[in-house]
C-alpha cells in the first residue's frame, strides 16, 4: 500500500465526512447538553442501538477484523463470535442491573458497590490502562490511513495522526460539538457495506448480500489459484480458538466505555431493547468484515501479487487494498478511509476524554491532591488528556501486534478485572472490598504474566495474553469469593440496596 503522493479525492472525502459529523453535532448540541461527547440524544430504541453500535465501532471493527481474516483465515472468526456473543452476557447479566445502580462510570460503580475508595481508585487505574491499550489500536489504524492518505511513512504518520486527534478534540470541545451517533452509525455502515456490494457485483457474485456472496471468492481462490483457507484448527487448536473467543466475550461485558452506555439510557426496558438493536447493528459489520479479507486475497491473486504475505501492516490495510485492487472508483476507497478514520477518531477521542476525566475525578483528588478545587481538577483533566495522548502515541510507534490483537489485550484486561467485579457486585451480595481488590490485582497479574514468558520459559505453556480471560476470569472470581468469605461482609446498607433496588426479591 506504499504510496508517495497525497490521495486528494479520498482526502477530500475524509474531510467532508468529518465536516458532516461536526455540522450535525453542532445542531445536536444546540438542542441538548452533552458531557464529554458521550451523552448524545436518544430517539427510541433504534437510536439507543445505533449509539451502542457507533460507540463500539472502532478501527478494530472497521480495519482490524478484515486484517485478521486476511492473515489468519478461520481463526479470526473467534473475534466475530467474541465481539457479538459478549452482548448476550451484557444483556442478561448486567444491562438492567447497571441501570438500576445509577452510577455513571465503572470506578463510580465499584466505589459505590464495594464501599471502598481503594477499590474505586484501582478500578480507575485499570480503566485508564484499558484506555491506553485500546487507544494504541486506534492510533495504529489512524496512522495506517494517514500514511496512505499523505504518502508518508508509518512513524511520521503516527505523529501526524496524534496531532489530528488532539486538534479534533480541542476544536470539538471549543465549538461544543456533540456526537450525533445515530447519523454516524448509518454513515459508517453505508461506507463499509456499499463498496463491498460494488466489488461483489463487479466480480459477478451475489452482490445484494455480499456477506454471503464472498463464499464464491473462497471457492475461486482455491480452484483458480490453489489458495485454500487453512483448515479451521490446523494452525491454532480449538482450545486456543475458544480461549480467545471467551476472552473477548468477557471483555465485551467488562469494557468501561461499553458499560457506561447503560447508565445513560432513559429506561430499563429501553436499555434491554437497545442492546438487541445495538447487537444487530454490530453484527452487520461482522457479517461483512470477513468478505474484505477474502476479496483482498482474491484481487491480489488476480493481480499476480504473492499470496503468502504475512506482513501485519499489509493485513491491517486489507479493507482499503481490496477496494484499491478491485478497480472501483477512487471515491469508494475514500469512503472506506473516511469511515475508518471517523470510527477510530470518535473512539479514541471518547477514550482519551473519559480517561482524563477519570484521572481528574477518581485519582487526582484522592491520591495526589486531596484538597483540589474544581478549577484544579479541570486543569488536571486537560494535562492528563495531553499526557495520555503522548503515551498512546509513543506506544503506537512500535505496536506489539495487529489492530485486532492490540484491542484484544484491552478486552483481556477488562475481562480479567472489571467483568468479575461487576458480575459478583451485581449477583453476589457477600462480595466485599477486600475480595474485589484482591480479584482485580490477580486479574492484572493474570493478564500480563504471559509477557514474561521470555524470562520464565515455563509460562510459554499458557495461552497468550489476548486469550487469558478464558481461564483468568473464573480464577479471579474464585479469588474474589475466597477473600470475601475470609473477611467481613459488606455493610447492611449495600446488601439491602442490592435486594431492594437492584433485584426484585419480593414474593408474589
Amino acid at each position: 500500500m506504499a504510496e508517495s503522493a497525497v490521495q486528494l479525492v479520498p482526502l477530500a472525502i475524509v474531510v467532508g465526512m468529518f465536516a458532516l459529523f461536526i455540522a450535525s453535532g453542532l445542531r445536536t448540541s444546540s438542542r441538548q447538553a452533552s458531557e464529554y461527547g458521550v451523552a448524545g440524544g436518544y430517539t427510541g430504541r433504534i437510536g439507543i442501538g445505533a449509539a451502542i453500535a457507533s460507540n463500539w465501532m472502532s478501527a478494530a471493527s472497521f480495519l482490524g477484523l478484515a486484517g485478521m481474516f486476511y492473515l489468519k483465515g478461520y481463526y479470526a472468526m473467534a473475534f466475530v463470535v467474541g465481539w457479538t456473543g459478549g452482548y448476550v452476557l451484557l444483556l442478561v447479566l448486567m444491562a438492567t442491573q447497571i441501570r438500576r445502580f445509577g452510577k455513571y462510570t465503572a470506578p463510580d460503580f465499584v466505589g459505590f458497590r464495594y464501599e471502598s475508595e481503594a477499590a474505586r481508585t484501582l478500578a480507575a487505574i485499570i480503566a485508564i490502562v484499558i484506555t491506553i491499550i485500546y487507544g494504541v489500536a486506534q492510533f495504529r489504524g489512524i496512522a495506517l490511513i494517514v500514511s496512505w492518505l499523505f504518502g508518508i511513512a508509518y512513524t511520521p504518520a503516527v505523529i501526524v495522526g496524534a496531532a489530528l486527534v488532539v486538534g479534533f478534540v480541542v476544536v470539538s470541545g471549543a465549538l461544543g460539538v456533540a456526537r450525533n451517533q445515530k447519523l454516524q452509525y448509518f454513515v459508517l455502515i453505508t461506507a463499509f457495506i456499499l463498496p463491498l456490494m460494488l466489488m461483489a457485483r463487479k466480480l459477478g457474485y451475489f452482490w445484494i448480500l455480499p456477506q454471503f456472496g464472498y463464499g464464491a471468492a473462497i471457492r475461486d481462490l482455491q480452484q483458480q489459484f490453489g489458495f485454500a483457507w487453512s483448515e479451521p484448527f490446523a494452525t491454532v487448536s480449538s482450545f486456543h480458538w475458544l480461549a480467545l473467543c471467551f476472552t473477548l466475550m468477557f471483555g465485551t461485558a467488562g469494557l468501561p466505555h461499553v458499560l457506561s452506555r447503560f447508565y445513560m439510557v432513559p429506561g430499563i426496558r429501553d436499555a434491554r431493547w437497545g442492546v438487541v438493536w445495538g447487537l444487530f447493528f454490530i453484527a452487520l459489520i461482522y457479517w461483512s468484515a470477513p468478505a474484505y479479507g477474502v476479496l483482498a486475497r482474491l484481487f491480489e491473486a488476480r493481480g499476480g501479487i504473492v499470496l503468502n504475505s504475512t506482513d501485519p501492516m499489509v493485513a491491517d490495510m486489507a479493507v482499503l487494498s481490496a477496494v484499491r485492487y478491485s478497480g472501483l472508483p477512487l471515491w469508494c476507497i475514500g469512503l472506506l478511509a473516511a469511515g475508518g478514520m471517523s470510527a477510530a477518531f470518535s473512539t479514541v477521542a471518547g477514550l482519551l476524554l473519559t480517561g482524563s476525566a477519570s484521572f481528574s475525578y477518581d485519582i487526582y483528588p484522592r491520591l495526589i491532591r486531596p484538597n483540589a478545587s474544581e478549577v484544579d481538577k479541570v486543569y488536571a483533566a486537560k494535562g492528563f488528556f495531553l499526557a495520555l495522548a503522548v503515551i498512546v502515541m509513543a506506544l503506537s510507534l512500535r505496536p506489539w501486534g495487529m489492530i485486532a490483537e492490540i484491542a484484544a489485550l484491552a478486552f483481556a484486561l477488562a475481562g480479567n478485572t472489571i467483568f468479575p467485579a461487576f458480575l459478583l457486585g451485581i449477583w453476589w451480595g457477600r462480595a466485599n472490598a477486600a475480595g474485589v481488590i484482591s480479584g482485580m490485582l490477580a486479574g492484572v497479574v493474570i493478564t500480563f504474566v504471559p509477557f514474561m514468558a521470555g524470562a520464565l520459559p515455563f509460562l510459554s505453556a499458557l495461552p497468550p495474553a489476548t486469550s487469558s480471560a478464558f481461564i483468568g476470569a473464573p480464577l479471579v472470581i474464585l479469588v474474589m469469593v475466597a477473600v470475601s468469605l475470609l473477611t467481613s461482609p459488606p455493610s447492611e446498607e449495600i446488601r439491602r440496596f442490592l435486594a431492594r433496588n437492584v433485584h426484585d426479591t419480593t414474593e408474589e
Binding site: V88, G213, I218, E231, G429, H503, T505, T506
Partner: protein, 114 residues
Amino acid sequence: MEESRTDKEISFFRPRGTAMRGEVRVIWLVLAGWFVAIVGTQAFVYLLEVNYSELLLNEMTFFNLPIHFWLTGQLLPLWFIILCVLFNIWMDRHAARRLDGALRFRIRSGREED
C-alpha cells in the same frame, strides 16, 4: 415484616423472591443456549475437519459459504440476536404480569377500604 423480606443475601445460585427466581431461571436458559451453541458449533467444525479433507470441507457450502464459515460467522451472531430477543420478550411479559398483579392488588385493597 418488610425488613425481613428484603434483608436477604443476594446470590445468583440462591435467588430470592418470585421475580428474581423467574429471571435467574431464564438467564440460565439463555446462557445454556449461548454456551452450547458456541462450543457445539466448534466441536462440529472440529469433527468435520478431523473426518474430511480440507477440499471437502470447502466443498460443503451453505448459501455460497463453506459450512464452517457459515455456522460460525453468520449463524452464531444471528443466534445471539435471537437469544436476546427471546430474553427481552420474556422480561417484558414478566414485567407486564407483575404490573398487572400489582394493579389488581391496589384495586382490591382500594375496594376493601371503601
